[in-house]
């Protein structure tokens, strides 16, 4: 009886994720921040795992970045989203997977709004027809790309070349997981594990051999928050959020951070540089920072991709100490070479952060 009750309660924290056949939409900012993450996602799912992930060049931003910055109203964002969904239907798909957490949150918000206000849905469908001559559709399943990697985590583990283990000590690496706020804090039922026990990244870390770091500010926002960052005078507030998280995780000596949001890895990575240059404080070992990764980058690392092909040279915090810890080989001479072999140019060294 008690077991049945627990099962029922826990069912609310589960999420149905179809195995295959997805319409994929990219993020508008991730390709600048973490240039190889989305390409790695497509390569792993399509070529390594043999899944059907379709992408079209006709899709656009979801409008979330403008919506959350108060630049466009909700109905405009909804019409953009309706166009994305219509493209999915046009190409014969029912399952929708998006790369961005903010997009995911906005899609959930839009679908929920349409469910609650059918007359608004009707209006958006009319807007869509008037502007694009596309037929209105809604996805049968909406998932975030990290949900899919979570779903495939054991398949990835089976094909892995490396584990999240310190090769010298044999100990699992201490990994901080950071979930984007828009993943499940707005609509807990839409995320794996809900808002209270988000399991999406924890599942990956456990499957790939790492150990979770549970620290007091684990669920605190990274500080991006759009408006907090876009206006320079508010950036101290954005920075304070990241600072609070790092102060909280520091005593647990994490080896790395893994995230599933476009903004979080960017801010957790770049703000370490700003904190080092303004406060003189670094959080990793020997003056280094704590390297921050997207889940695709970590999946790529355990599967044996070349770190430079994963775009790890674009990170602010150097990743080499972690690669050495795991035992992943890399060629320092190729760090700043582009895909075509040409030198991309070397960034200036920070004063404090190694």
């Amino acid at each position: 009886m008690i077991y049945e009750g627990k099962k029922k309660i826990w069912a609310e924290y589960q999420k149905e994720i179809p195995e295959d056949h997805y319409f994929y939409v990219r993020s508008c900012i991730r390709q600048s921040f973490f240039p190889a993450s989305e390409a790695t996602f497509l390569d792993i799912t399509r070529n390594k795992l043999g899944k059907d992930i379709f992408e079209t060049e006709h899709h656009t931003t979801c409008g979330g970045i403008a919506y959350h910055s108060d630049a466009i109203p909700q109905e405009t964002a909804m019409t953009i989203i309706a166009r994305q969904f219509a493209l999915m239907k046009k190409y014969g798909y029912e399952n929708y997977v998006c790369s961005c957490i903010t997009s995911f949150g906005l899609y959930c918000e839009t679908l929920e709004t349409w469910r609650e206000f059918p007359e608004l849905q009707q209006k958006i469908a009319e807007n869509l027809w008037k502007t694009c001559h596309l037929e209105f559709a809604k996805p049968k399943f909406l998932v975030h790309a990290s949900d899919l990697i979570f779903k495939y985590r054991m398949q990835i583990a089976a094909k892995s070349k490396y584990k999240l283990v310190n090769k010298n000590t044999g100990e699992p690496l201490r990994v901080v997981e950071h979930i984007g706020c828009h993943y499940s804090k707005m609509f807990p039922s839409k995320g794996v594990g809900g808002a209270e026990y988000p399991y999406v990244l924890v599942g990956m870390i456990e499957a790939w051999g790492g150990q979770i770091v549970d620290y007091p500010e684990r669920r605190h926002c990274c500080g991006f928050g759009f408006r907090q960052y876009f206006i320079k005078s508010n950036r101290g507030y954005s920075l304070a959020n990241t600072h609070k998280k790092f102060e909280s995780m520091e005593p647990f000596k994490p080896d790395m951070i893994i995230t599933n949001c476009p903004g979080c890895p960017y801010f957790l990575d770049r703000w370490q540089y700003v904190i080092a240059e303004t406060e003189g404080k670094t959080y990793g070992q020997d003056g280094h920072g704590i390297p921050v990764f997207t889940y695709e980058e970590v999946a790529g690392l355990v599967m044996g991709y070349d770190p430079w092909d994963l775009g790890l040279q674009t990170h602010q915090v150097s990743v080499e100490p972690l690669l050495d810890k795991i035992g992943i080989p890399y060629d320092p001479a190729k760090k700043y070479l582009g895909k075509n072999g040409k030198n991309l140019g070397q960034p200036e060294k920070p004063h404090c952060l190694k």
Partner: protein
């Protein structure tokens, strides 16, 4: 060090374990009205001194409860004891007397 034009905002975290609550307990024993305040802000809105200086009994009481007596001192330092706040308090608190007791107990 680089000047980016912004820096880490100071934390507003309050450590109640580190705060000395003994004086507030003494205040509450002497002036039970200190616990009756519902922070409506009528006192601050009607305060003559607040028009010119950062003065607020409402915020001062909150600061005292959080152990921040220095902040409270600043917020009460320009009080002229005119008693207008007593007249507008919806909870009937003798705010003038309360302020005097705060100044006495906290030696402000």
């Amino acid at each position: 060090m680089i000047d980016f034009g912004f820096s880490v905002n100071p934390s507003s975290r309050i450590n109640l374990d580190a705060a000395d609550g003994e004086k507030f307990h003494r205040l509450a024993a002497l002036e039970p009205d200190a616990l009756k305040c519902m922070a409506c802000g009528s006192c601050s809105a009607s305060c003559s001194a607040a028009a010119f200086e950062d003065t607020s009994l409402r915020r001062a009481l909150l600061s005292l409860q959080n152990g921040l007596s220095d902040d409270a001192a600043k917020l009460l330092s320009h009080c002229m004891l005119c008693g207008k706040c007593t007249m507008v308090c919806p909870r009937g608190i003798n705010t003038r007397h309360l302020i005097l007791s705060i100044l006495k107990i906290y030696s402000l």
